[in-house]
């Protein structure tokens, strides 16, 4: 089986979804394609976890462009999983917009192209090509962010495009400098693995410049503070399934590109890549934790929580031990499954209440029991309450930090995580259990969630619960391989 095949289903689905046929065609092909991608990604991850390779059958020439190791397989599988649940959620969610058939087709074409561009990130091994697909993720998702065409959505999309592409401009120069550094070290194949091989001979000045340019440039798209300003806008204005993709996995897959540089930087004397990661990560977690307290829109609440989680992952990598790397990988997994669930819950709430304002939603548990329960479940899970997935991964990171004697960093992380917990739960608690102000609202009839939305919620909830109590052995193996890819 060729690993390239995984890129085809979304492309074919994008082409089919554009065809003017029955209204149900576009959602059907999107779900079908995402299921195929999920199966392919799962089999790939399974094989890699078992110690095999998925690029054996490839022509050696291809290996200059494509490579899949534990880290790539992990990200690939997460993209496929979130892509599948988001595709299922979209079916029911998009009917509520009462779209024209053309607009619905446009949504599905863009959705599939967006998934395609994300899947290409972990597959490609040539850094400049990775840069291009990172650009493509921005461009394919821009029209999804502006989908509702309201003033706010257009503003969010505009900020998203301009800031992401501006960051990408710096990152492009960073990748060119990296290439020049490789050239100065005597050349080799310009791939992630090739870079690690020649890293000890590369001029440190060029490496540091390239690393900082890429960290700042791509960090903009990950939403690291202070380059995060676009993120809460874009991640709250897009339709909810798209928010799940953007927040749940797109940020993490861009962060993956930055993480790829860490093993290279470890070979450079005095590079301090880990220190940069730790500082930038802590600033992101801290800022996001305090900004969480003052939001008035519940989708922005989850968006800020994404900024917080990206900070936690980066800080964990910055702690620089194999245990904290493992924790970071675990955090990527638990963030992806939990955050996508949270945005589905937020989408269900939006369907039931028709508003994004926290203050306008009270007594959700009576009006829409499933949405309310999901929202409280998601809120507890994302802020790291036991027994959910995020608790386990955050605990692993804090423990690794203490073992490493990073007392200050671990202490700050713990404090910020607790603040974020209260920030999120104060808002959600009022929304779900608060008494409705208007008597009319109390009389309102119960809201029934579309079947596909409920199904997506249940599917997304399974890993959130299971990974909180038990990490299956193949996943544990994959996480170990992924963490090993971060060290030299």
């Amino acid at each position: 089986m060729s690993v390239i095949w995984i890129l085809f289903p979304p492309l074919i689905a994008a082409a089919l979804a554009g065809i003017r046929f029955r209204r149900s065609l576009a959602p059907t092909v999107t779900v079908a394609s995402s299921l195929i991608v999920l199966a392919l990604a799962a089999s790939m991850a399974w094989r890699i976890a078992a110690g095999g390779s998925v690029t054996d059958g490839l022509d050696p020439g291809w290996l200059n462009w494509v490579a899949v190791d534990g880290l790539s397989a992990l990200i690939l599988f997460l993209i496929a999983f979130v892509g599948t649940t988001a595709a299922i959620f979209s079916v029911g969610y998009m009917t509520h917009y009462k779209l024209t058939p053309g607009k619905l087709r446009l949504y599905h074409v863009n959705f599939n192209l967006f998934v395609f561009s994300m899947l290409a990130i972990p597959l490609l091994a040539e850094p400049t090509l990775v840069w291009i697909v990172v650009e493509l993720t921005t461009l394919c998702s821009a029209l999804l962010v502006s989908f509702e065409n309201t003033r706010e959505a257009l503003e969010a999309a505009w900020k998203y495009v301009v800031l992401s592409l501006m960051g990408a401009g710096f990152a492009l120069f960073g990748f060119l400098v990296l290439f020049a550094a490789m050239h100065a070290a005597g050349g080799g194949t310009y791939t992630w693995a090739g870079l690690i091989a020649v890293a000890p001979r590369m001029p440190p000045l060029l490496m540091q410049t390239a690393f900082l340019l890429i960290l700042i440039g791509l960090g903009t798209k990950v939403g690291l503070v202070p380059m995060h300003t676009w993120l809460p806008d874009a991640h709250s204005q897009a339709p909810s399934p798209v928010c799940a993709l953007l927040s749940g996995i797109e940020t993490a897959s861009i962060l993956y590109v930055i993480l790829r540089l860490f093993p290279v930087m470890q070979a450079v004397p005095g590079a301090h890549a880990e220190t940069w990661a730790l500082i930038l990560g802590l600033i992101s977690v801290g800022t996001a934790a305090f900004l969480l307290l003052q939001v008035s829109d519940y989708k922005r609440l989850f968006a800020f929580s994404t900024v917080e989680h990206m900070g936690i992952i980066l800080a964990a990598v910055g702690l620089g031990a194999s245990a904290s790397d493992y924790g970071a990988m675990q955090q990527i997994v638990s963030h992806a499954v939990t955050k996508s669930f949270c945005f589905f819950a937020a989408g269900a709430t939006l369907l039931a209440m028709g508003t994004r304002e926290i203050a306008a939603v009270r007594g959700l548990i009576r009006r829409a029991p499933l949405a309310g329960a999901a929202l409280i479940f998601g809120g507890l899970a994302i802020t790291g309450a036991p027994p959910f997935a995020v608790f386990l991964s955050e605990f692993a990171i804090l423990k690794a930090g203490l073992v490493q004697r990073h007392y200050l960093a671990s202490g700050l992380l713990a404090v910020f995580i607790v603040i974020a917990f209260f920030g999120v739960m104060v808002h959600l608690n009022r929304m779900v259990f608060g008494a409705p102000d208007a008597p009319a609202a109390r009389e309102a009839e119960r809201f029934r969630l579309p079947f596909s939305c409920a199904l997506a919620l249940i599917l997304a909830a399974v890993p959130v619960l299971v990974l909180g109590v038990y990490v299956p052995p193949p996943l544990h193996q994959l996480l170990k391989l992924a963490a090993a890819a971060l060290a030299r």
Binding site: T128, L154, M166, F179, A180, A359
Partner: protein, 233 residues
């Protein structure tokens, strides 16, 4: 190549790079949207010229390819695409209220260009002893001035051109330090530039249709705080 020709090629490359810097200043400061577009086209031509001259200098067929790609995509396809997808009124816009006034903007631009020199020269030295010309510092300056354009302009077209100018700057530096990057990558980057123009064009058209203006810098509603405060236009 004789010593005299090489000297001539190097001087011409320096001239192209110098003019490139000048166009970058122009894109930051020109009020007229159409003038910005013309400056951007001139900048892309200068980038192509620099690539061709460096190709001559290093005898690299690859750099001729870069020059050709730039010659076709930016001066020809970009304006054509903009005419196709973006609203027609885009070019005739004249920007009165930039975020900063023009003398202040130009002073900051000057400071950035000087900073780029101090960043670029050690970087170029670290790459190796071979000839790099002024491409690295000027390329970095081009990038920073593009970023400055993005922060001070409000009108859609200059903002889009600021994005593309950043990419031009990265390229001007890139052709001198990474001149054997694979052709596939170069082509992909050029295509990517065109997709940027397409998507931003579509977005601007939507903004004009639903908001009624192409002055996208005025879109600033989304922020934290109580809803009634945010609603005020």
């Amino acid at each position: 190549m004789s010593e005299a020709t090489r000297q001539l090629v190097e001087n011409l490359n320096a001239l192209a790079a110098g003019l490139f810097l000048l166009t970058a200043f122009g894109i930051v400061a020109m009020r007229q949207a159409r003038a910005c577009l013309h400056l951007f086209i001139a900048q892309s031509l200068l980038l192509a010229a620099s690539a061709a001259l460096l190709g001559l200098r290093f005898d690299s067929g690859h750099l001729y390819g870069v020059a050709l790609v730039n010659l076709i995509s930016k001066p020809i396809i970009v304006p054509w695409l903009l005419r196709k997808v973006a609203p027609a009124g885009l070019y005739t816009r004249r920007e009165i209220d930039q975020v900063l006034n023009i003398p202040t903007t130009l002073t900051i631009a000057l400071a950035l260009a000087i900073g780029a020199y101090f960043l670029g020269v050690p970087l170029a030295k670290a790459v190796g002893p071979e000839y790099l010309g002024p491409n690295v510092p000027i390329g970095i300056a081009g990038m920073l001035l593009g970023a400055l354009t993005l922060t001070v302009r409000r009108e859609a077209l200059p903002l889009l051109l600021g994005l593309l100018a950043m990419e031009n700057g990265a390229f001007l530096a890139g052709i001198s330090i990474a001149h054997d990057l694979s052709m596939l990558v170069e082509l992909a980057i050029a295509t990517d530039g065109l997709i940027i123009v397409f998507i931003v064009g579509v977005l601007v058209r939507a903004v004009e249709l639903h908001v009624g203006s192409t002055s996208v810098g005025d879109l600033a509603h989304l922020r934290e705080g109580p809803p009634d405060e945010r609603a005020a236009p």
